[in-house]
């Protein structure tokens, strides 16, 4: 899968701006280093030429930004969407969270984004990161060049990519890819193979590191409630309140339930977690169970589709059978 270059994207953006198709461009802005790109709204050609970047660190999923961005101007916003971003895009459309008429979506191919946290485990004092062959070359301050394979540098969600196919766009740059039969449920299967005690211990270990920064929720394209229950001081479960360690676990489990059937498995939650909690595993367990109970379903694959959890049919699994099936799988 050939990625389009930064220059192609800049040219596309400038031509759409000058044609008046869009009045601003949601893109990635270069930072201080090779890896710290920031989502940014570009307004003109000069800014695009100076600061627009598209490289291995453009992992941020822009779909959720459209909820806020669409309200800012009467004109259209240009958004670049990687294949996985387009699933969130469709899901947000399904939930009527942004105005499709105010967006010009350009699909761009993606062959996986790097994970700076993983790279840091292998290389300290990073002065530059460049793609090299099938992997990466990290120039370091003290240890010379460190070569990393794709497996060592790419984000987990990209190594287990579910689709290189765009499910929504106005225009596609480069080649279209395919839905991939990925191994993304391997991690869930490993958890299912555990005894309940082992599994509890696993999640206790992971979730006890939570600092309730709420980054997972704030970045999540399925979390677009105008007012989150965890931001309500009267809820008794307010954002930063950690009255006991059990509460942290409840926060993540409640959130996983709330996004169940709507989570497209974009993996932003795990990407942003400052404590490296593999939050995507909770969501993938739900996705795997929903597939098992109701037949394969991918949230966001089709806009305005009726998700199994909001669509009753007489063939639906009985709750008791679901419990049995869950137990059987877990034995």
């Amino acid at each position: 899968m050939q990625r389009v270059t930064r220059d192609v994207l800049v040219q596309k953006a400038i031509s759409l701006l000058s044609a008046g198709t869009v009045d601003r461009v949601l893109g990635w802005k270069a930072g201080e280093f090779s890896y710290d790109v920031t989502p940014y709204v570009f307004k003109d050609a000069e800014a695009l030429k100076a600061d627009f970047v598209f490289d291995d660190f453009c992992g941020a999923n822009f779909s959720k930004y459209l909820v806020k961005e669409c309200g800012k101007s009467e004109g259209k916003v240009l958004v670049f969407l990687k294949p996985c971003d387009t699933y969130s895009f469709n899901q947000l459309l399904t939930e009527h969270r942004f105005d499709r008429e105010k967006v010009y979506a350009v699909g761009i191919p993606c062959d996986g984004m790097a994970d700076i946290t993983k790279i840091r485990e292998k290389a300290e004092g990073i002065s530059e990161i460049t793609a090299e062959g099938d992997g990466f070359c990290v120039k370091t301050l003290y240890d010379g060049d460190v070569k990393l394979t794709k497996e060592e540098a790419l984000a987990e969600r990209c190594l287990n990519c579910k689709s290189q196919k765009h499910v929504a766009y106005d225009e596609l740059l480069g080649e279209e890819g395919e839905v991939i039969d990925s191994g993304r449920f391997t991690g869930v299967e490993a958890l299912e193979a555990m005894t309940p005690d082992e599994r509890f211990a696993f999640w206790k270990g992971e979730l006890s590191r939570c600092i309730r920064c709420n980054a997972c929720r704030d970045v999540c394209p399925a979390c677009t409630c105008e007012k989150c229950v965890f931001d309500n001081p009267k809820s008794g479960v307010e954002n930063k309140a950690i009255a006991d360690s059990f509460e942290e676990k409840m926060f993540h489990i409640i959130r996983a339930f709330h996004v169940a059937g709507r989570c497209t498995d974009c993996g932003e939650c795990s990407r942003v977690c400052p404590q490296n909690i593999p939050l995507h595993l909770l969501n993938r367990k739900f996705i795997k169970d929903i597939n098992g109970f109701y037949g394969d379903y991918q949230a966001g694959e089709e806009a305005y589709s009726r998700a199994p959890l909001v669509n009753y049919t007489t063939e639906d699994i009985e709750p008791a059978d679901a419990v049995k099936k869950g137990d059987g799988e877990n034995a």
């Binding site: 920031t38 930004y65 920064c213 929720r217 970045v219 930063k240 942003v272």
Partner: protein
């Protein structure tokens, strides 16, 4: 000055642990974090811990008091725990500098006794940063990562750890460790410190300047239109505040345990929408206002109230952790104009 070989660090840790609990950076799934030393615990080689060291004195959550209620009557029960001496090994210069910033808040009148009890009981063993990272910018705040200070200061060089007492408390502490350490001259440590300072000068953020900021500049920056674009895509999460060694805003909340009410204090974040929310309104309704508050506090308000000292120590955690890679360096470079271009 004393010394001990890196290979014998566990003997040093064991000796310290014999007199008081010892906490030190240990590798884990999140990166390094402070853990209590036990036989077999390995000291992390990471430059710094994932979260800062402020937790030792200002934990994320602590119970302060409980209430016993009976009919119309209330009894206030003090839940303050008696704190004994403890040692922290491996504190870097940035985190150590953050303690004096926290002191300015918690030890100024009226003294926060919860904080003070822990502060008074800590012996801090700092470690010089032999390999400062690309995200480091402590030198912008006149912090010397080669000589961090603390009660005891360590410099690691050529397989040896050189320890020097910096306070009376540190002297007594090192005296207790004479059985596992040996006397040393300063040459090797000083040579390493000189090398560290050279490395710091070559860091990518070495030239970051604070000159444009400081007390008395509220009106200069408050209405700057650049806040709009800086904050435009801020998620409003609390990651930067929670990993920050100097962020110390807190909330006080009550929790009904079912057997009575406990009043606890927990970290709060000026990035959160309800931080300033009152029954009849909110003075910071937009993320821009909340974002501005965080950086104005560190770069203008705090120095205004604290003899020019900035509320940032350049540890670089926000650079590494912000989900959108927006951070104080970008804010300083954007607002600071020509000084930081």
């Amino acid at each position: 000055m004393r010394k001990i070989s890196m290979d014998s660090l566990s003997a040093l840790f064991e000796a310290i642990s014999g007199t008081m609990p010892l906490f030190l950076p240990v590798d884990g799934k999140e990166g390094a974090s402070y853990k209590k030393w036990e036989p077999g615990t390995e000291y992390s080689k990471a430059l710094n811990t994932n979260k800062s060291a402020k937790d030792f004195f200002f934990p994320q959550v602590e119970n302060m008091m409980a209430f016993k209620t009976e009919g119309k009557n209330i009894e206030v029960l003090d839940l303050k725990e008696d704190v004994g001496p403890f040692a922290i090994f491996g504190v870097r210069a940035c985190d150590l500098a953050s303690f004096s910033i926290l002191d300015r808040v918690f030890l100024s009148d009226p003294v926060d006794s919860f904080y003070k009890a822990r502060r008074d009981n800590a012996v801090i063993i700092s470690v010089a940063c032999s390999r400062p990272q690309e995200t480091c910018f402590c030198s912008a705040f006149s912090i010397d990562a080669a000589a961090p200070g603390g009660d005891v200061e360590c410099v690691m060089a050529d397989g040896m750890v050189y320890l020097e007492a910096k306070t009376e408390k540190g002297e007594a502490f090192l005296k207790n460790l004479e059985a596992v350490t040996e006397a040393s001259d300063e040459r090797a440590a000083e040579a390493e410190q000189a090398k560290i300072r050279e490395r710091i000068e070559k860091l990518p953020l070495a030239n970051l300047s604070t000159d444009a900021f400081g007390g008395g500049k509220t009106m200069e920056y408050f209405n700057n239109p650049l806040w709009d674009e800086l904050s435009a895509n801020c998620l409003g999460c609390g990651t930067c505040t929670f990993v920050c060694p100097t962020c110390q805003c807190y909330d006080i909340k009550d929790y009904n345990t079912g057997k009575g009410v406990q009043r606890f204090r927990c970290w709060d974040s000026c990035m959160y929408s309800d931080f300033t929310k009152m029954a009849h309104g909110n003075i910071r309704n937009s993320q821009k206002e909340r974002f501005r508050q965080r950086f104005m506090h560190k770069l203008v308000y705090f120095p205004e109230n604290n003899e020019g000292i900035f509320g940032c120590v350049g540890c670089g955690r926000c650079l590494a952790k912000c989900p959108i890679s927006m951070n104080i360096v970008k804010v300083m470079k954007t607002l600071g104009g020509a000084d930081n271009a």
